[in-house]
Subunit: 296 residues, 2 copies
Amino acid sequence: MPLTLDAALADVAAEIDRQFDQLLAIPDDPRADLYRAMRHAAIGGGKRLRPLLVFATANLFDVARECSARAATALEAIHVYSLIHDDLPSMDNDDMRRGKPTVHKMFDEATAILAGDCLHALAFEVLADPATHADPFVRIELVLDLARAAGPNGMAGGQIMDIEAETTRFDLNTVTRLQQMKTGALISASVEAGAILGRLPPEGRVGLRGYAHDLGLAFQIADDLLDAEGDEAVAGKKLRKDEVAGKETFLSLLGPERAREQARMLVDQAIAHLHSYGKEADLLRDIARFVLERDR
Amino acid sequence: MPLTLDAALADVAAEIDRQFDQLLAIPDDPRADLYRAMRHAAIGGGKRLRPLLVFATANLFDVARECSARAATALEAIHVYSLIHDDLPSMDNDDMRRGKPTVHKMFDEATAILAGDCLHALAFEVLADPATHADPFVRIELVLDLARAAGPNGMAGGQIMDIEAETTRFDLNTVTRLQQMKTGALISASVEAGAILGRLPPEGRVGLRGYAHDLGLAFQIADDLLDAEGDEAVAGKKLRKDEVAGKETFLSLLGPERAREQARMLVDQAIAHLHSYGKEADLLRDIARFVLERDR
């Protein structure tokens, strides 16, 4: 695992594509389109931020690359399934994602729903498989970590709050909680997965959890700024959506100046949480800075 | 756990309602409707066949009731999520289920999609929780069993084949494979969960697996017959759907006489697979007979 951010991003992207390519080999039966739909969404796109966090955290503890790769693939599978479902006409109704047509546009709604459902189940199958880790204690902890982050107290719960936000005026506390669930939970679960693989006991995870928490919020503020100020061609998806939906966000509540300042402070705080780690955590520090600078 | 079928059905139905009632306590925040939607689908309805199979199998090995109840709830959560998604307008477009409006009718499509997604994640959270079983070997085996049964090689894969069946003429082999995936996989996973909880080693599960396999097919043929000949008011859902969709089923391929005969043979075969068990397996035998006689 190379330690510079650009090399790590490229390396993780290639590894995740390879993992999905193997996991989603197209069967010679009536399920072929289902697999094509999963591959369309899962392969060749995205920043792979969550897998990168799994690798960067696991590497602090010299975890075997195969173990990290499988856990990282499971985390990304949950993220990809959530994007497929979020893009559906009855949800965000998006036509473009990662510079390509969304799954329901490329295939149809039924295929998109089932492709999401399949990636959801596959994520848990990948984690529970002995190939991910020989020790069942490690595997069951990974499953519990991901199931909590994906469900009603995590990502999916945040998603329903996000829909509510279109018709209800939320205050800053509620928006913060919404975002911690919607995007923060899976970002935290990625760092946690690296710590679980590294057999770090829960009492030793305080610094990494603080890092993940602040990183998740900084990421979301950067996402709000990108939605308001970014270039659709670079982002590969529709932008200015929050404003059109009339949704309260960090940006609408704080304004661009304070939002940017808040994100910078969160990135500094995230890095400060890593004080007990040396050079081996430089990639995690670089990821925190990258989150602010990204353009897609 | 009472051993007569009627008492067991009532007992399991009450237990599963109790489990979902606790699991799905409505939070005092913007997720309230999401929880109401999950409760609407999960509580107070259905035959609870899969939970009953978990209990009946686990009881062969004197598994603690709390363990069986949690595993049974996870199996039913997956079943309920699949019903919510199958009923969606872009899938089967059903208005009624278990005698009540479907979730997207009672709430809306976005809530239905997310309620399904949440029950999906909750199923794995319930299984992975130490409260289900102290031994992580048992829990991780339950997770792997359920993830495989729910994903593209099980229920969700069968569902996409079922959609394909509306536009492609399938032969009896393909219909059999489709049904083994669509409904058989979760029925088999329920029996398997009971065996896993009972710490029966895989080499000792041959009889139970044979039972579950034949029961799953008999169940599906009975379902086809119910769709063609049943009473919508009793079934609590729309019937005559296969005929309208022009879908090949066991019934369309075999005709009613041979289909009924085939189902009876499968039930006899299922019971024959239990030959190494005594009276303690009478409930499993009764369940096999019940599958043919049910009217909903």
